[in-house]
């Protein structure tokens, strides 16, 4: 495949916009609009329009927060780990993973602000935050991670943006200006390359501990309390494993969607699906191990307050959801990913990824709601089922994530062109004229 074909293929989605793309943007925009309307209603009327009350004071918003922050880990961890381990096959998929990180972080970080009811009170975390509070740790770590993830994504974009600045001269003026500003005058000099490599090296090493610490801190907003179901010492690694698990599943879904819609079959091959499916299988087994450890230990001790919650999870009100998560979210995907026939089929992998993401969202909902509904004092169980306002805002969150991703893919190449070029044999690269030479 020639260099020009590669560039043409990967820039095609930016050059051309199909009707289906606009229809998708319109549909996602509509869902987001309904969510914005619901949020405005919540702002005007207060949190009484939600189902959250004194006892179950966190609900679907916090479940969304944990879910989106969770999938945001994949970009940093997958990209950094595969880079550090020198896995060459990673090149076509790391940009997607990094974009998943930034888009999901943006949506995830908005959820606690929505949950606050009064967004102006976010300032209180800064002005009156206490160092002993896990909420303040959360705020600091998420803000740091969001900044780092944007930088991480941007560093890898610079050479591609410069390429677009030079190649896509027929685009609208705002896009050309955007590329000119973001390319930072990149011409690929030895000095620029050296500085970019140095920056990438620093961020690759830095983003790993930041990503792990962020989800550990997210788990601590639960685990630092004595509440039943949350009072666990393995919540940190349990949450990090769950985050990677759902994150890799999300990247697989994104790969499948972009491969089909942007016709990227030449670049995102069956091999990428198979390799990621194997990683997903390992993460599934790790998550099963953590789940057994978490519930077996507590069930064996059967401390009186924990027994109430465990009964509700095993045989009571939450049993349907609890067992559905274990069976459809962990066991069925593990079987699908373990059997060679389904593991090597894209359809089998996609089914597993969809099941995993659905189950992981339910798992976060169950962690938040069931523990709060369990009575800590001699009173009845709390009741919670999200209202239409909460469902609308949740749907808007998912649509917003997809919308951000779709817009990103329209403005920037979803596969890193310069990294893919580097993968090619040196001799082949030398034979291809540079973009500026090709124009003249």
């Amino acid at each position: 495949m020639s260099d020009d074909t590669l560039v043409a293929d990967l820039l095609r989605p930016i050059r051309r916009t199909t009707r289906a793309y606009w229809a998708l943007i319109l549909g996602l925009g509509l869902v987001v609009s309904v969510g914005v309307f619901a949020y405005l209603l919540q702002l005007r009327s207060g949190l009484q329009v939600t189902a959250m009350r004194n006892q179950v004071s966190w609900g679907i918003y916090i479940a969304n927060f944990v879910f989106f922050i969770g999938i945001s880990h994949v970009g940093a961890l997958m990209s950094a780990i595969l880079r550090l381990s020198g896995a060459e096959w990673r090149r076509p998929i790391t940009r997607m993973a990094e974009a998943v990180t930034v888009c999901s972080l943006a949506v995830g970080a908005a959820m606690p602000i929505i949950d606050l009811g009064r967004p102006d009170r976010l300032l209180n975390v800064v002005t009156m935050g206490r160092l002993q509070s896990a909420i303040l740790w959360d705020f600091l770590s998420i803000f740091t991670y969001l900044t780092g993830s944007v930088l991480f994504l941007y560093l890898f974009l610079i050479p591609d943006v410069a390429l677009m600045r030079d190649r896509l001269t027929r685009l609208g003026p705002w896009k050309r200006k955007l590329y000119r500003v973001l390319s930072l005058g990149w011409t690929g000099t030895a000095n620029q390359k050296r500085r970019l490599e140095r920056s990438i090296g620093v961020m690759t090493l830095l983003i790993l501990p930041i990503a792990i610490s962020v989800h550990t801190v997210v788990s601590w907003i639960f685990a630092m309390t004595l509440r039943v179901g949350w009072n666990s010492s393995i919540f940190g690694p349990y949450f990090v494993a769950g985050a990677l698990f759902s994150g890799v599943a999300t990247v697989l879904l994104a790969m499948a969607v972009f491969r089909r819609t942007f016709h990227l079959e030449k670049y995102i091959t069956e091999r990428h699906f198979r390799n990621l499916a194997l990683i997903l299988l390992v993460l599934d087994l790790v998550y099963i191990y953590f789940t057994i450890n978490e519930y077996l230990v507590v069930s064996y001790k059967m401390e009186s307050s924990e027994s109430l919650l465990l009964q509700a999870l095993y045989t009571g009100e939450y049993a349907g959801m609890f067992w559905a998560i274990q069976f459809f979210g962990l066991i069925v995907p593990a079987v699908l990913l373990a059997i060679p026939r389904t593991r090597t089929s894209t359809a089998g992998i996609i089914v597993a990824a969809v099941l995993i993401n659905g189950a992981m969202w339910l798992k976060r909902y169950l962690i938040v709601v069931s523990s709060l509904a369990a009575p800590g004092v001699p009173i009845d169980w709390g009741a919670y089922f999200p209202t239409w306002v909460e469902w609308s805002i949740t749907a808007a969150g998912f649509a917003g994530f997809a919308l951000l991703f779709a817009l990103f893919a329209k403005v920037f190449p979803i596969i890193s062109i310069w990294e893919l070029r580097e993968e090619k044999p040196e001799a082949e690269r030398e034979a291809v004229p540079s973009p500026s030479e090709a124009r003249t």
Partner: protein, 180 residues
């Protein structure tokens, strides 16, 4: 007839004077004793006396509870002593007005009874276990986040230099010359 009438009246008077004679209705009384005010976290004694017509009732279980925003929480159970008295040690870690109650559930012919009293809980919270200084924690957090942001600053300086390099007059470098 007169001596007989006198005997009847005397017997009635004696009957009324007989110990426990009026207790046949089984009604009990509970009295709770709590301090008027305590400090946050201070341990104090709540006592209660179970009586039946001024006589202490020994060997009966009393249940002590405290009121909360969500309802009552049991704070202890004790069997009454020979004087009908039982007591529990309590400490309260939330400030304000707290209602403490004691109840007797009834037993045999004895009827249930209940008593309550409020006390003010105030003052500063007792110091928690001081195993890690908050200043130390603050310093560690600030140093960790500081290192991360210093690395970000380093990357931003590199980007600034890249931009600076890009603005220089072309020194034999065409645009995208190396983008092969």
């Amino acid at each position: 007839m007169r001596p007989i009438a006198l005997l009847v009246v005397a017997a009635f008077v004696v009957f009324l004077w007989m110990p426990g004679g009026a207790a046949s209705d089984g009604s009990t009384e509970l009295f709770i004793e709590v301090p008027e005010a305590v400090s946050l976290g201070e341990e104090f004694t709540v006592s209660a006396v179970l009586r039946e017509h001024a006589t202490g009732l020994p060997g009966h279980e009393l249940v002590f509870t405290r009121g909360t925003l969500y309802g009552s929480i049991e704070i202890g159970r004790q069997i009454t002593d020979a004087d009908g008295r039982a007591s529990v040690e309590v400490s309260i870690s939330s400030g304000g007005r707290v209602v403490l109650s004691v109840s007797f559930g009834g037993e045999g012919v004895l009827r249930s009874s209940r008593a309550a009293s409020a006390l003010a809980v105030g003052g500063a919270a007792p110091p928690g276990p001081d195993f890690v200084s908050i200043l130390f924690v603050g310093a560690v957090v600030a140093a960790t986040i500081g290192v991360v942001w210093a690395c970000y600053a380093f990357v931003l300086v590199q980007l600034w230099e890249i931009r600076h390099e890009g603005r220089r007059p072309a020194e034999g470098h065409g645009r995208n010359k190396t983008d092969r």
